[in-house]
Symmetry: C2
Subunit: 563 residues, 2 copies
């Protein structure tokens, strides 16, 4: 794969578009100086390009497999993972007290993006480990933190999330895995989990499962769920992997993509576990992990879009049909709108990370609300863009795009999961117009005011572009107020197009800032004249309500009637 | 696969929306009475549902393969093909003089849709054979027609198109395959072709290749190309397959989807061929074949969308997460907009087929121009809808959609080729704003006038819906006039979004007719309030011109600069 980490574009967005320097001016992130940021991006980019990217294809062709119940990962994955671990990249944003580097999430997400561009299947392992680190930092006991965090930060051990069961996907509260307390204060966990990413690993010496389960006195639904640390090998007195726990990988899934990432059916058979956080409060801890992972998945979408776009660009440069096809207007349209959308989605993801960092550094509720509001947009739009750009990259390749050896179809197959896992994009959109509207629209309005102000400030330099953005933001503000007044089912019926419209306006906003800061004015115009205008159609759909959808007979969907 | 042919919806669209009865009132299609249409649809639907659909999964899991140079097709394909051949379905629209049934293309496309829903990989074989039949009917000598057509119509033999070479894809004129005339008036054809669908077959006793090649005195580019019939086995004196010709399948491609369809690298090594049409006029004959195939590919998109939507609907009915997920507003939104788009795309394809039939029956240039104008829209929009709906169907499945055993991912992988082959959708869009605007916009304007008139006629019954359609058509008319005045590169830069806008307006038009004719008013409203409104964003992009695209540096696409 010809991936070449776009260090300069990433650094530009962090510094000039989304405000990383403001993060660096806070006390806790004072070490994230411009020089540190540059050198970390450069070194991570080098590793992604030179060490991780070369194993991506092997992960697709030689999927992870089970051999007598033990996982054998794809060729080269162990070496690539070791390079990540030894560089200290896994604990980049983690608490230095336990071996982390304490750097901003914005920088961490930038590094994650480059690794996920290079090899999504492999990057899932450290990404989930990072989520576990965050959950333990917030909810783990001192003993758990002291024992697990240093090993997770160093990459000696890896971490997983065990939520889903056959009957409990989006409805996590329907889970049936049980836990019971035993005399020594530990627990026994019993049940089956599905879709467990990197549920086993031969690239780390232990696999630490965070498992949602219900205690005997746990009520029904999400409120009766607790969270447990259930390691593959029970740590001995020295904290090294000891006896095997009572759990196993039953099977691996055969998937459309990310073949190098083992997706496991896990069986916990009275496995020994330790409570994380309080009894029956497991969902709170899991949400900590999931929020981090949601932004991380948005970044994965951006990452795969970036890599696919690079490969399509190279192909278009080399392929001649009536001259190099990159000179053809329609091919340039595909590449340019893809680049504009990758830029927009990346900016949204990094802006979300900056809000997370600022919330942590300042303790201000406004920053936390901003982060919470941007998270579902970053996740859904980042992954939609990733899928759209990978699809376009296949199209740029013409017939060669459909041939697996070309490698471009792998991006389309790999990235497709990102719109589904960590909460489908429909769930994200419902979160946006549901929970994230529970403040009466305060977070949305604050963001829109910022966009309107920023457009006003750009009026002198770029009157036409600024007007488009201002108008769009104003229309979005009106629709937001309308939706805030609507019943929940009507909002849900319009949630996905509403999120799409918000993302388009946000993207245009960051493009405008970029233009003001010396970035490409032409690329901003490509976004504002070709990508932004769809927001109007999105808003029409966002306001269309649920009544028509409910009135349609299911048999019409099945093609078995006409009225 | 649970595909169940939507006979009632198809019949409704043919009879009430796109005007098949007008075709039946012409002399040459007098036999296509309402009763005949119904019984053919019913019987074809039964075969598709009961005989073809059950082999679809096996085609994916057990791809066609080469065994000592001979093709072995996927399990069950031979039996399924035989059912098609014996039903007389291949020659449905072909000349009765040579064993065809002489029925309208509109009916043929409806049958093709059901077969392509059931198994795209298999349906490619009869679809290409139909294209060859049409090319021979128009351009073949009497000898060729008498020898080949009865065998092609009956499905004893199958046909292929050999255009593409490694350096000659969209630019067909760059081909290097050579032909030379020998003393007996036949030709020797030498060269390599790629992407040859069903380039060999064990389900028919002969494979008839139509091959584009250049004669020694053929000039450069497309004008020096001739077309040859090159059979796998040279027919003996009785017209039966005789000695093997000097050609072979070099290898099969490993593709993203349609694994059951063998995509061959073909080598012609002085193979014996017969000229079809005149020397150096091969492109004209090939265009006859390609035009028919382009509409056929649009129908394939509709077909795969239909099948994927049916499976997603069934899954949504059975899957419980907070109750059956089909009751959730966002899931209903996905299913309803998909159904509205499948309805729209099917109507456009069938309307194109009706125009083809009317052109043939009446000889009127207006009908021919209508058919020519609708063909690229039918191809591009039909396949875009197919891909979009299959993608949505995966999303409805959540995590299960990513597991190959679920079967829904196969639709996404299979349908993806339809946006690429028979001219990429970008090529279709350039054809629309290029060649199809060469009449000064006459065909476009005639169609738009019809839409405007029809919207006026619907004003009394459905004022709001009719107004939306009228406004959209009027805006589209204005943009069409603007584009007609633009330079070609500017048109090309906006071609794809322009085609998309035109398709949305056309789809709304047919939905409005459907509502007037007793079809679902609610589905029409779903289209007009949620699908149509994107036309405005499309038109903004259509008018954005080429200058910005040309101004961007290629290195920006590669991520290696920011300005």
């Amino acid at each position: 794969m010809p991936y070449n980490a776009p260090v300069e574009q990433i650094e530009f967005i962090l510094n000039e578009v989304v405000g990383l320097p403001e993060v660096s001016r806070t006390d806790i992130f004072a070490e994230a100086t411009a020089e540190t940021v540059k050198s970390i991006l450069t070194e991570a980019g080098r590793i992604a390009t030179e060490i991780i990217a070369p194993v991506n294809r092997a992960g697709d062709l030689t999927p992870a497999r089970l051999e007598n119940g033990a996982l054998r990962s794809s060729p080269g994955f162990a070496e690539a993972f070791t390079a990540l671990a030894e560089g200290g990249w896994i604990g980049l944003a983690a608490n230095p007290e336990y071996g982390g580097m304490g750097l901003p999430q914005a920088l961490n997400m930038a590094v994650n993006e480059m690794v996920a561009s290079a090899c999504l299947a492999l990057q899932l392992n450290p990404m989930l480990t990072q989520g576990q680190i965050e959950a333990l930092e917030h909810h783990g006991s001192e003993e758990l933190k002291a024992l697990y965090l240093p090993k997770l930060n160093s990459g000696e051990w890896s971490g997983t999330m065990n939520l889903t069961e056959p009957g409990a996907g989006s409805d996590v509260g329907a889970l049936t895995t049980k836990a019971e307390c035993v005399e020594d204060g530990t627990y026994r966990v019993t049940g089956q989990k599905i879709f467990i990413t990197w549920g086993d690993s031969d690239v780390t010496s232990n696999v630490c499962h965070l498992v949602l389960a219900r205690l005997p006195d746990g009520g029904a639904g999400t409120k009766g769920i607790s969270l447990f640390m259930v390691p593959k090998f029970i740590p001995d007195a020295d904290g090294n992997p000891g006896v095997a726990n009572d759990l196993r990988v039953v099977s691996l899934e055969h998937k459309l993509g990310i073949h190098g990432s083992p997706t496991c059916v896990m069986s916990f058979e009275g496995a020994k576990g330790w409570l994380v956080g309080q009894e029956h409060k497991g969902m709170a801890a899991m949400f900590t992990m999931m929020n981090c992972a949601r932004l991380g998945v948005g970044v994965q979408g951006v990452a795969q879009g970036e890599a696919a776009l690079q490969q399509a660009t190279l192909y278009a440069t080399e392929r001649n049909q009536f001259g190099p096809i990159i000179r053809h207007p329609d091919v340039r349209r595909m590449l340019a709108t893809s680049r504009a959308e990758v830029f927009a989605a990346r900016s949204i993801c990094f802006a979300c990370a900056v809000a997370i960092d600022m919330a942590r550094a300042t303790g201000e509720a406004e920053w936390a609300a901003r982060a919470a509001f941007l998270t579902p947009i970053a996740k859904a739009y980042g992954t939609d863009v990733g899928t759209r750009v990978a699809d376009t990259a296949v199209q740029v390749h013409g017939g060669m795009g459909y041939i697996e050896e070309t490698g471009i179809a792998q991006y389309l197959r790999d990235v497709r999961i990102t719109s589904i896992y960590e909460g489908t994009n429909g769930i994200q959109a419902m979160d946006l117009v549901g929970r994230k509207f529970a403040d009466g629209g305060a977070a949305a309005t604050a963001l829109l005011d910022e966009i309107l102000d920023s457009a006003k400030a750009a009026q002198a330099a770029f009157p036409e572009l600024a007007n488009h953005v201002w108008q769009a933001a104003e229309t979005l503000r009106e629709t937001t107020l309308e939706l805030l007044d609507s019943a929940l089912p009507d909002r849900f019926a319009g949630a996905v197009p509403y999120l799409s419209a918000f993302a388009r306006v946000l993207g245009a906003h960051y493009h405008l800032i970029s233009a003001m800061q010396g970035g490409s004015v032409t690329l901003a115009r490509v976004h504002i004249t070709r990508v932004l205008p769809q927001f109007a159609g999105d808003l029409a759909a966002a306001k269309a309500g649920v009544a028509d959808l409910e009135a349609l007979d299911d048999d019409l969907f099945l093609g078995q009637m006409t009225v």
